[in-house]
């Protein structure tokens, strides 16, 4: 499970060094551009000094030796390459981020809407992309239409599915004066509505701004890391200055180029070179998940999440219930219920309706009245009765209906369908009316209510499921058990979240028993049943009062206050404008389960920054042992005892410098894709990474420098 998750967050890298990137990296070598990166600016300055030594050693009395001109040239070249590796990494990261950002433009929510144009008193429907709608425009919303943007109902009553936006599974009734939310879906009837907001493109614009390094504001953590780097640079500058002074006053005859080599090796060049690209690639990785962050800060905060509010619908469950069992009342059998369900759902294209057909089909309850469906009268779902159904008039049996269902379903039925031995029952003139709906709605239309009606319904609720009642010719024949379907992987994801010490809280509009059973199934200990959207705000407030960092998703207007208050708020692109404004991230794919990936990415970003910083500092230990024996070799030969690696005295400095330079491009992939990690507790991650990047950071350069030294001496 964990490998799958880590695979999910380690983004495949397809970047190639293009010509454009190459040119960009060279342009960035200009000292004016490098000012933004003090460590690298210093490396470039040292390049100029050593280059001057190579050209005219006599200009540096007591510090340079004219017999070493070639050596100076080599050192200068490596210094320049070191700086270039840094600008190359910047250019790469920026180009990658820009490419991703551009590709996201295409994902921008595009919904076609039916705009009503009133010309000379007559109404005309014009298909219009949602982007072109403006406040005040009128639109027509028919069954199965997606509401393009937030609007207000002017005419009509309809049931609207807002489950993806509010987390409530039930359909909502909308009447004139009500607001319909962008992204919700009309389930029945027809509405006329007026657009209340303008579509907004700011996310994409904001996104593009964030990836342009020159304008990208540093996050608080990035600022702090920069201060550490400047501090270390200051320390090493003093150190090298003092060492130069000591060499002069004690006549130790240190060569300036070796001193500079030591200086550059000690400077935190690795993290200095990679720091900008680490932050940028973090944002790029979010983009690849189709998430737009409004600030880098929110991404960092995501790593600190203590509590994560998960809407049941859309995050934990797929959003629709599925039929799992037929329960007949006394006098009927399962087949009766199954066949009735089949017939009643044939014309019902909702996922719920399709699940009834599938269950009946799988149980072999394919009704003989099948072909009667062609001539049936369909009762569309209506908000007022909260039922739907079908009235069959006659039919010869055996034959497959020519309409309804899907082509694939009809094909499968053809293979599965076997006529009953006694032959088809001619329905003749008898009419059969089958109605399905909520138990209390069906209760009202049947002639008599079976004695165990309420008991069965209650038992189903107690198990966390939902009941749907079926009547045939106004007689209650049975109940269908509908169950929430979990999203694939959700259990593993919840487990990973818990392993990392984050507390998941499930928010659902369901009644407590249903909520409890689903929570238990996915391993969530805390849940809020019968939640109204405004409850989220209270939960965020309560958790924050306990100083916890809260992450949440939301999309409805009602979510806006909670989204604004939460430390990490991820809004769905399908959601309302208000929600998107309030949140600090927007998921263009409107997949609420991604909040978990956001938390992972936040952690990964911080981890990567820490890992490269630690690695960079730990590297310095080995470099001392490479360069110190050479620095005063002519005057203090005893210090050669520090040459524990047995490096060649002529090659040690170059080896250390080359290692120092080459480690930058070697770590670019790490900076770009981030440190891979298995979800685990804070301390485990801390200790594991300290082993790899801290202790490893001390050891690796010893090995690397030795290998380079051997390679050089072979040349």
């Amino acid at each position: 499970m964990s490998t799958r998750l880590s695979k999910m967050i380690s983004v495949r890298r397809t970047t190639l060094i293009s010509r454009k990137v190459l040119i960009d990296s060279l342009v960035r070598l200009s000292p004016l551009r490098l000012i933004a990166n003090p460590v690298m600016l210093i490396v470039e300055i040292t390049f100029f000094i050593v280059a001057a030594m190579a050209l005219d050693p006599e200009a540096f009395p007591r510090l340079a030796n004219s017999s070493l001109q070639i050596f100076y040239g080599e050192v200068a070249l490596i210094l320049l390459i070191t700086a270039w590796f840094s600008t190359l990494s910047d250019a790469l990261a920026e180009s990658q981020a820009k490419n991703t950002a551009n590709s996201l433009r295409r994902l921008e929510m595009e919904v076609s809407s039916k705009k009503i144009l009133i010309e000379a008193g007559s109404r005309r429907i014009v298909p219009t992309p949602s982007r072109d709608l403006r406040t005040g425009d009128l639109i027509l919303l028919e069954k199965n239409d997606t509401v393009p943007i937030d609007a207000q109902v002017l005419e009509g009553i309809a049931m609207v599915d807002e489950s993806l936006l509010t987390g409530e599974s039930t359909a909502v009734r909308k009447a004139p004066g009500d607001d319909v939310i962008g992204g919700s879906q009309v389930l029945s009837d027809t509405l006329t509505a007026k657009i209340t907001v303008n579509p907004d493109e700011t996310f994409i614009n904001q996104m593009i701004r964030m990836v342009e390094s020159s304008k990208r504001p540093k996050t608080p953590n990035e600022q702090a890391v920069t201060i550490v780097l400047i501090g270390l640079t200051a320390i090493f500058t003093i150190l090298i200055g003092a060492l130069l002074g000591v060499s002069l006053v004690l006549s130790l005859a240190a060569d300036l180029s070796v001193l500079i080599a030591l200086y550059v090796c000690l400077l935190p060049t690795t993290i200095g070179a990679l720091l900008p690209s680490i932050g940028l690639s973090g944002i790029s990785r979010l983009y690849k998940e189709k998430i737009v962050a409004k600030s880098g800060r929110a991404v960092e905060t995501a790593g600190d999440t203590d509590v994560i509010l998960l809407d049941k619908t859309g995050t934990i469950t797929v959003g629709n219930r599925q039929a799992v069992e037929f329960l007949p009342f006394l006098g009927f059998n399962e087949r009766d219920v199954g066949e009735a369900a089949f017939l009643a759902s044939w014309h019902d294209d909702t996922p719920e309706g399709r699940s009834l057909i599938r269950l009946a089909y799988e149980d072999g309850f394919v009704p003989k009245e099948m072909n009667a469906l062609d001539a049936s009268e369909v009762y569309e779902f209506s908000a007022s009765t909260r039922t739907s159904g079908v009235k069959l008039a006659g039919g010869t049996g055996f034959m497959l209906p020519k309409s309804g269902g899907t082509g694939r379903e009809r094909g499968r039925l053809r293979r599965k369908f076997e006529p009953h031995v006694e032959g088809g029952v001619p329905i003749g003139s008898d009419e059969t009316e089958i109605i399905k709906g909520a138990p209390d709605a069906i209760k009202k239309i049947v002639k008599s209510v079976p004695g165990d009606y309420d008991k069965v319904v209650q038992e189903i609720s107690a198990a966390g499921d939902t009941a749907m009642a079926l009547s045939r010719n106004r007689e209650a024949i049975g109940i269908v058990r509908l169950r929430d379907v979990l999203k694939p992987d959700i259990r593993e994801k919840i487990m990973a979240v818990k392993v990392m010490g984050i507390r998941p809280v499930m928010i659902t509009g369901d009644q407590p028993l249903t909520a409890k059973s689903i929570a238990a199934e996915v391993g969530i200990d805390e849940y809020q049943p019968e939640a109204k959207p405004e409850d989220k705000y209270d939960i965020v407030k309560r958790e924050q009062a306990e100083t916890r960092i809260v992450a949440m998703i939301g999309d409805g207007t009602n979510d806006a206050p909670a989204l604004a208050m939460a430390d990490v708020g991820l809004a769905m692109n399908s959601g309302t404008q208000a929600a998107k404004e309030a949140a600090n991230m927007v998921d263009l794919e409107s997949n609420p389960a991604k909040i978990i990936e956001v938390v992972m990415l936040g952690k990964q970003l911080l981890m990567t920054r820490g890992a490269v910083t630690t690695f960079s500092i730990a590297n310095d230990v080995a470099k001392y042992f490479a360069i110190m024996p050479v620095l005063f070799a002519s005057t203090v030969p005893e210090l050669k005892a520090l040459n524990v690696l047995g490096l060649g005295l002529n090659t040690a400095v170059l080896s250390a410098l080359i290692f120092n330079a080459i480690i930058i491009p070697l770590l670019i992939p790490l900076a770009m894709r981030g440190v891979t990690f298995k979800p685990s507790g804070t301390m485990t991650l801390f200790l594991k990474n300290t082993m790899i990047y801290g202790i490893g950071g001390v050891i690796i350069p010893f090995v690397g420098i030795k290998l380079i030294d051997v390679a050089i001496s072979l040349l």
């Binding site: 702090a224 501090g231 790593g303």
Partner: protein
């Protein structure tokens, strides 16, 4: 008081106290309690000495018993060396030893207050100072002084005793108010002895019992303050990284000092209580930045000196009273920030998020040390000041100069040069180094503590657990890497080079 007011109050009180002591030093010749008739100190020496004692450093460019070459059987003492009257020993040296120790404890507590939940300010310096003196230092020193007298340390105001030896020669017995000074000098991690030879002089350290007792006193308050930290912030477990970190480094110092060379002291050198004691003392006195010595540093092997450098460069093993804890908190914040980032959370310590400003304060505090150690070391040679007092340009000479400023910056006070460094250059340069080495980090770390007040505090304990043994280990590793990275080349030119040159003891 907020941290600024607190710092200012501490600074002003300290400056007034140093000014009073300056008057005593400069005019001791005309002031009472001067049975030996010592003249006043020169202005630059008096200036350097008040800063030395006022900053808890106790670098001494004089010899307390003075130039008593005209006195019988005083040959061990160097001629031309300034001495101190009883009044100076009491009202300048001992006085500042008390007040600088108290100040150290006060500022540490003031910084810790910032980390206490719901604390409103840094406290009141005047109240803290008075209580530290009357409730901690006076009672402890009272007991310690009497123990010292019982063990043979003199405590008298009558002048030097002239006696006739068994063989009939005249001999001067250098007595004075030694016990009361010895108690605060060790307890307050001051280290400035009554005599030039410090605790190598039998009257200041008569026997092994007094030797062990002094080691105990040196470590008492710095170690206790590690516990005070956990106690005050209400999380006793948080004492662990400070205490464990300090003593793990201390153990490492001992390892460096002892393992490679046994016997640990060169032949013919001071072995009053055996080589073990001399080396152990040296490690303790630098680890606690006390600076008292019970042996001549010149008699020690290079690796013992390396270990002494370690103690003074880290300053938190357990460090001087008060500031040791402050430095360790500084190292913890730095470690939590750099290494802790790898836990995948933005760094926090004690539930407080580490901000960019915190990092800035910590980095500057860390930066002060290399500046004030390395710059004057180079200057001492380039100005010719080192050559003027006969210090050479070889590894031995370099070690002495580097040690002098390291000791001054760390407010330690042990040194190779002693009264030979009584020149305007060394007096003024060490005075500046000691002052900056003391008050710059204190001000910066008080600001760090002060900025924690009213900061949002996470009670979730979801960050890196600083109270775990593995964290202490990582802390030790980070401290070693950070400190050694900063000073390694200079250690390499000093004690490490001497070691490679095969010096047994060579000064």
């Amino acid at each position: 008081m907020d941290w600024k007011e607190y710092f200012l109050a501490a600074l002003i009180v300290n400056i007034f106290q140093m000014a009073l002591a300056f008057v005593i030093f400069a005019f001791q010749g005309v002031l009472p309690l001067n049975p030996q008739g010592f003249p006043g100190l020169s202005w630059d020496l008096a200036f350097m000495q008040v800063i030395s004692f006022g900053t808890n450093t106790n670098l001494q460019h004089y010899s307390g018993e003075g130039n008593c070459v005209q006195l019988p059987n005083c040959t061990a003492l160097r001629p031309g060396v300034p001495g101190l009257s009883y009044l100076s020993q009491m009202m300048a040296v001992q006085f500042l030893q008390f007040t600088s120790a108290a100040t150290g404890i006060c500022v540490a507590v003031a910084m810790i207050r910032g980390f206490i939940i719901h604390s409103k300010d840094s406290g009141n310096f005047y109240v803290d100072f008075t209580r530290t003196l009357t409730r901690i230092l006076f009672p402890l020193c009272f007991v310690a002084s009497l123990v010292f007298v019982g063990l043979g340390v003199p405590q008298t105001l009558t002048g030097y005793q002239i006696t006739k030896t068994v063989e009939g020669a005249a001999q001067t017995i250098l007595v004075g108010p030694v016990a009361s000074l010895a108690s605060i000098m060790q307890l307050g991690t001051n280290g400035g002895g009554y005599y030039g030879a410090n605790s190598a002089y039998p009257f200041q350290n008569p026997n092994p019992a007094s030797d062990v007792f002094q080691i105990f006193l040196m470590l008492l308050i710095p170690t206790t303050l590690c516990f005070v930290f956990g106690q005050l912030i209400g999380k006793k477990r948080e004492t662990r990284p400070i205490l464990w970190g300090a003593y793990a480094l201390f153990a490492l110092d001992l390892l460096i000092a002892f393992t490679p060379n046994f016997p640990v002291v060169g032949p013919g050198m001071e072995v009053r209580f055996g080589g073990f004691f001399s080396v152990f003392w040296t490690v303790v006195t630098t680890a606690a930045t006390t600076g008292s010595v019970n042996t001549s540093l010149s008699g020690l092997y290079p690796l013992v000196i390396l270990s002494a450098f370690n103690g003074m460069l880290i300053q938190a093993t357990p460090g001087g009273k008060g500031v040791g804890v402050m430095y360790m908190v500084m190292f913890i914040v730095l470690t939590v920030f750099i290494v802790g980032l790898m836990s995948g959370r933005t760094p926090e310590y004690l539930g407080l998020k580490i901000t960019a400003r915190d990092v800035k304060l910590v980095m500057i505090a860390f930066l002060v040390h290399p500046v004030i150690v390395l710059v004057p070391t180079v200057l001492a040679y380039s100005t010719g000041a080192a050559g003027a007092i006969g210090v050479g340009t070889n590894s031995i000479g370099f070690t002495k100069i580097f040690y002098e400023f390291t000791s001054a910056a760390a407010n330690n006070g042990s040194d190779f040069l002693g009264a030979t460094a009584n020149t305007p250059f060394f007096n003024i340069s060490t005075a500046i180094v000691m002052f900056l080495g003391r008050f710059a980090p204190i001000g910066l770390l008080l600001a760090l503590g002060g900025s924690m007040i009213n900061r949002k505090r996470l009670t979730t304990e979801a960050g890196v657990r600083t109270d775990s043994p593995l964290f202490a280990l990582i802390l030790v590793g980070s401290i070693l890497v950070l400190v050694l990275l900063t000073f390694f080349p200079f250690l390499a030119l000093g004690p490490i080079l001497e070691f490679f040159q095969g010096r047994v003891n060579g000064f």
